[in-house]
Amino acid sequence: MSEESKNRLPEDKPLVIDGKVYSSRLLVGTGKYRDLTETGHAIETSCAEIVTVAVRRSNIGQNPDEPNLLDVISPDRYTILPNTAGCYSAKEAVRTCKLARELLDGHNLVKLEVLGDEKTLYPNMTETLIAAEELIKDGFKVMVYCTDDPLLAKRLEEMGCIAIMPLGAPIGSGLGIQNRYNIRLIVENAKVPVLVDAGVGTASDATIAMELGCDGVLMNTAIALAQDPIRMARAMRLAIEAGRDSYLAGRMPKKLYASASSPLDGMFF
């Protein structure tokens, strides 16, 4: 499509999170890269504007001149989204969020994830609900990683979570969107952004999430562990854009039998 004809398309409504407008619907993590240089290049290529980080003990005394992640991924340029990865209880998650807020000078946007077990890293929803309530009461803006249960997703929204982030498949599994119908139901019911978080393995998975009507996708491993993370970062950017346009365009109906694309009128035999 030429740029000219593209420009005639009606504008999409932008992704708004915590009152801020984003032009990219791809959110990326910063884990599992070879080094900080690769992290920076991949994120730049992805055009993501919201970037997740983890909060961990400083390696005091080791490599004092080692570059800091936030020197590469500057909070002036990106919206830093601290996560509570590795937390298995509401208490641990709330504590992590408070440290993150202090670390980021009062920035109160967080990605809440409370995990259930080490094998599946599946969300522990009872602890997630407890943590979400406490964090919201304390003034945090909570984007919540959750199961793809439409009722729990609605409950989290009603509690005041500002984005619902159901998993497509277990974290780091790369299995793709396992329950499209549930994701679709969550999207239909939600008045806040719905972002698939976890499970994307390759670009077509991201497109499927967007075709289901999701407002965005958060991914980490699919880019970081690709053979060429920089190229995969670009693939993901294009996949998200393709999926969004495909959703907005509205797909043709599926039919069991063929329907000729060339007219039957005017045939000469």
Partner: protein
């Protein structure tokens, strides 16, 4: 000197040491860090006044790569 726990390891700091003194001792003054003592946040604005006590459990954390 008094002994505190820093990120789970014992560490000796001078009597009456503040968080600011501790961070200076660790050569991390001015770095992007957050400090917690006995599971309560000590805001950056209080680092100069907050005095450490023997046995305090201090956590110094930073942002690292994560998804």
């Amino acid at each position: 000197m008094i002994e505190i726990q820093l990120n789970g390891e014992p560490l000796e700091v001078p009597d009456q040491a503040t968080i600011a003194v501790l961070l200076n001792q660790l050569s991390v003054t001015g770095k992007r860090l957050a400090v917690e003592v006995n599971e309560d946040i000590v805001p950056r604005s209080c680092h100069d006044e907050y005095k450490l006590n023997p046995g305090d459990r201090v956590e110094v954390v930073h942002a690292i790569g994560g998804g």
